[in-house]
Structure formats: C-alpha cells, structure tokens
Amino acid sequence: MSSQIRYCICTFGRQGVAVEVELFLDKAPSSSRFLTSLLPIEADIFNSKWNGAELFTVLPPMNPSVVENQSESVRRGDVVMFHWPTGHRGMPNRPRAGAIGAHTELGFYYGELIRAYSPAGPATGTLVGQIVQGLDDLAEVAQTMRRAGFGRLKIVPRP
C-alpha cells in the first residue's frame, strides 16, 4: 500500500458503523506509514477498561517505535497509538496469558469522558489521526456495543 494514503474508512462491529479518519502525515509520518502498511486491517475491537469512551484494537508492534506527535491528553475524535511491551496488563486476560508480546494499541476516542491511562498509570500515545466523519454515529453505536458485544473492526483506504 502507498505511504501517501491520507484517509481511511474504519467500519466497526456487527452494526457496521463507518467513520472516516484523516491521518497526520506531517505530524506523525512514521506512525501513519506503519498503519497504512498494514491495510487492509481486520481485527477484534474492544472498549477500553481504563480510558472511558475509547474503542481500540490490537496491532503488531511498530519496530522501531518512533516518538512523534506524543500526548498524554486526548480529545474526542482523536485516533491514538500506544506502544505496549510484552505482558502489558491492560490487555484482555486471555491474550495476556497467551503471551501476546509487544503490541500496538490503536484507539478511537468517541466520547467526552476520556483519558489516556493504563494499569500502570497515565499513558503517552502518538496522535496519529482524527475522525473527520461519522463520529456522532460511532458514539451512539459504541454504547450499544458495550451491552451487545463488539465484533470486528475493518480499516481500508478511502477509495
């Protein structure tokens, strides 16, 4: 896939709600390139246990992980990458017990009650993009998903 992909379509869960994400090619070029190199992505989606209104998925580790456009504060609509070491306690128990290893958490902040946090305390992530379309729909569906289950996330380049 081209490293110049700027927009992605992310489709969440059985409800199939889609949002459009603009990647920060200028502020987070390596992280954007890493993400687009993985497209198309299809993976399980979870709501955070710690960050409030954040849906996230688990991606392979980014090697080497690059420090760019980092922040401890997040806003509604942010798309954030966190780089976690082997044994990170924020993962679901089953993957943790199965030695998931180092990985990247890709988070989508869809609501107002949010933070960047983990069992180890405040977390610093890379702001890799922004939801530019479909955020209200995602916020609505995410609440339903918390009760009905999450399903899968698909990420593809915008046509």
């Binding site: 709501n47 246990k49 409030g52 209104a53 009650l113 009760r147 289950g149 999450f150």
Partner: protein
C-alpha cells in the same frame, strides 16, 4: 455470629461465586442489601475503573450510610455506591460493583471514588473472573444475587 453469604449467579454460563458479607465492617450496608435480595439485573463491564462489572438498581427508603469506605480494591471485592453521594441531583439508586481481578481503581468523573466495601468473594472467583472478561467483549448479561446459606 454466623456470617451471611450471598450467591452471585451468571445463569447463562451456569457459574456461581459465593461471597461473605462483611457485617462487622459494614453492618448497615449489609443489612440494606440483604433485605433487598434477590436482585436480578444486567451487569455491564466498567470502562474507566479497570477490572470491574457493575449494575444499578432502584433505591427507596432510608439514605444508606457510608461504611468501610475505601478506594483500594482486592480481587473479589464487592462495593456499594449510592448515586447521590457523588452527584447531588441524582435520582436515588444503588450500584453494586464487583472488582473481579486485581487491576482496578474505582474512578468517577472527578477522580477516585470511594465506596462501601461490604462483601468479598470466597469461592468460585477464578471462574467468575473469566466470565467477567468475556462479558467485557461479548456484552452485558444477567446477574442474580441471592441469599446464600449462613456460614
């Protein structure tokens, strides 16, 4: 004095955990909850406090006291919260939170949120915890809390 116990039942999974009520540390809270049993509700996973599932239920009558309050949890702890403690204009309602594993910090919108620690699971916690992890990803489901046998 015999200690009261309560059964935490996930009917869909046929899982039962047993908890002892902390009647010495939180006597009035235990009594208030005991009087209301059985309670059946939909539990949902927390999104801000780590390894916690919780549910709300209507509360009528006397305002419950804060007893044995703490923000420090252990795996298998049951906490009680009363909505107006934390939001003055809230409708009176109770909340029972079950901290099923060690990675948990009770949090509200304004920061750490102390609750009344009133019971602790003494049997079946590991299976119950695995079920709670599944509830996290699969969605909410029915929890029944009923009186257990005295111990």
């Amino acid at each position: 004095m015999p200690r009261r116990t309560i059964d935490l039942i996930l009917p869909k999974r046929n899982i039962v955990a047993r908890a002892r009520m902390l009647e010495t540390e939180a006597p009035r809270t235990c009594e208030f909850i005991w009087e209301r049993l059985p309670i059946e509700s939909q539990i949902i996973h927390a999104w801000y406090s780590g390894c916690e599932v919780y549910f709300h239920f209507p509360w009528r009558g006397v305002t419950p006291p804060k007893e044995n309050t703490t923000i420090c949890t252990d795996a298998g702890d049951l906490f009680f919260y009363y909505a107006p403690w934390y939001r003055a204009d809230a409708e009176p309602s109770g909340e029972i939170a079950i901290y099923y594993d060690r990675d948990a910090i009770p949090m509200g919108t304004a920061g750490p949120m102390a609750g009344s620690l009133f019971a602790e699971i003494f049997s079946g916690r590991a299976k119950f915890a695995r079920a709670c992890e599944s509830i996290w990803t699969e969605g909410s489901e029915t929890l029944l809390i009923r009186r257990g046998a005295n111990r």
